[in-house]
Amino acid sequence: MSIGWRSLQGQLLWRTQQPRQLLLALLGSLVGLALVLAASATVLDVRRLLRTGDRGAIGAQYVVLHKRVSLLGVLGSDRSALDAGDLAAIRAEPSIRRSAPFLANRFGASAVLEFGPRGGGNALRTDLFLESVDDAFLDVVGERWQWAPGDQTVPVILPADFMHLYNFTYAPARGLPQISRRTAQLFTFRIVIEAPTGPVTVRGRIAGFSDRITSMLVPQRFLVDANRRYGPPADEAPPIYRLIAEVDPLRLTAFRRFLEARGFETNEETLRTARFATLVQLALIVVAAFGVILVATAFSALLLYLQLAVQRSRQAVETLLLLGTSHREVQRWYVRGTGLLLGAVLGASLLLVWAVQRTIARALRDAGFDARSGLDPIVPLLGIGIIVVLAWLVARAVRRQLRTLALPSAPDGTLPR
């Protein structure tokens, strides 16, 4: 009759008289590990959403920076321009990915919009404040956004809020028709520049509406050229009063500290959404911390259970050792057994996290976010890392416990190496 050595091992080494304890410890490990991995997966997803630019949940954070206007500025003796120190500090600030100054018109300009056939009707005239900024910071650059020296038509980007203001306030009050963005882009208007030699007229054409920048923007090449031609002669570069900056959404706290330290101001509302995202991340980190505590507690219970199992099998283990089984082999049995249990816990946790992440991703996609299904490879790697550490702790604990068995301690208490 053949006797299975493996089944004998099980009988002799795993005297599991309290399977409920083992089950609870494994369940605790499962829930804890799933919490850690789910929180990690969500933190990674949130960070990815924050970092993936305009298609992300929050997208890149563009803010317009300027110095706080002081009383002296009101009186006109200090224009709150950004000095070289401010610009150097902005360039060196790690929370700011990149920045570009706004260029303002240095000449008088007005817009004239004529109603009626061939301009024979009424005309609406208003002073213009023109600005330009590097195209890389614009959200509506298209094929209409072109200007070359000699062109008599200048594309203009208006703030989207202007459109809303016209459609929902001005037009109803004056009995004028509401217009869509597409229709608005068909209109042209005259831009009258007060040149030193007399008025110069070019045609303005709406190239788009910006949700990002509240200013009337013209191409930078046009403004540089126009300032040079029509503005007062300047020996040095014109002062910079404000600039646009792309802020790292994950470093908003540092960015806010930077603003306060340098006395800068910005559009607070833009930052609010991103602060909420930071809050979400913090909440997830707290969840992960709870998961770690739960894993630690459950694993302690598992380790205690294992030590108890070795203790319960003490007589059998000692006899096995006296019969010639090596300590290393007995240790391997326990570690292998526990490793299999922990591996099952990891597999179940990953399955759980995968299912949860899939559901969340679907909900996020329904809400219009660019959320992907599937776990980030870091998550299973993290799980494997945790399990390897736990298995190492098991091996160490079992080794220590086994060394108290079937080894002669010398009169001074030392054990063989």
């Binding site: 009759m1 053949s2 006797i3 050595w5 004998l8 009988q11 002799l12 007589q315 059998a316 000692e318 006899t319 096995l320 050792l321 006296l322 019969l323 010639g324 089984t325 090596s326 300590h327 290393r328 060394r403 079937a406 080894l407 002669p408 301690s409 010398a410 009169p411 063989p416 190496r417």
Partner: protein, 185 residues
């Protein structure tokens, strides 16, 4: 005191004289002694964990006074287990069991056996593996004279066949015990 391969030594002493303690020293259960115990010229105190495993697996076979059987396993399973650890011929099991008079009990968990039957299972297990030294700590304490003599014959024949050194301890003189040396304490 020395024990050479192929020779046998019986130690007779009253309870508490240290017979089982000596076996515990040789088995590696205790190390709290002065003096030296040398095996092939090497002191037991220099053995590391792996050397102890090697010594127990290949060199020494012991019948402990408290037997150290696995209560839930049958005699056959106990023998299979030591063979798995150390190797050894399976074919002699039935013959040895017959010589010891426990053939009928080979497949019963040893916890269901009497002390005398357990003692014979422990002897059966000790003989079922290769060894160069056979240590028997009061191996016949629960056996009647007839069974003890039969067991001794089997033990002596096996140790002789293996060219092993044999150490047997006991309380009183036993007329069937023929050893090359006797030490009375």
């Amino acid at each position: 005191m020395a024990l050479a391969p192929g020779t046998s030594l019986q130690i007779r002493a009253a309870s508490g004289a240290g017979k089982s303690t000596l076996v515990a020293f040789l088995a590696g259960l205790r190390g709290d002694y002065d003096g030296e115990i040398l095996v092939d010229g090497r002191a037991l105190t220099t053995f590391d964990v792996e050397a102890w495993a090697q010594w127990r697996r290949q060199a020494v076979s012991i019948v402990f006074q408290d037997l150290r059987l696995f209560p839930e396993l049958s005699a056959r399973a106990q023998v299979a287990l030591v063979r798995e650890v150390s190797g050894g011929a399976a074919s002699e099991l039935e013959a040895r069991a017959a010589a010891l008079g426990i053939t009928a009990h080979l497949d019963r968990p040893v916890r269901q056996l009497s002390l005398g039957q357990m003692q014979r299972v422990a002897i059966l297990r000790a003989l079922a593996r290769p060894y160069r030294w056979l240590l028997l700590d009061e191996p016949f304490s629960h056996l009647d004279r007839t069974n003890a003599a039969a067991a001794w014959e089997l033990i002596h024949a096996d140790a002789t066949a293996k060219g092993a050194g044999l150490l047997v301890t006991g309380l009183d003189p036993q007329d069937f015990l023929r050893t090359t040396q006797t030490l009375t304490l």
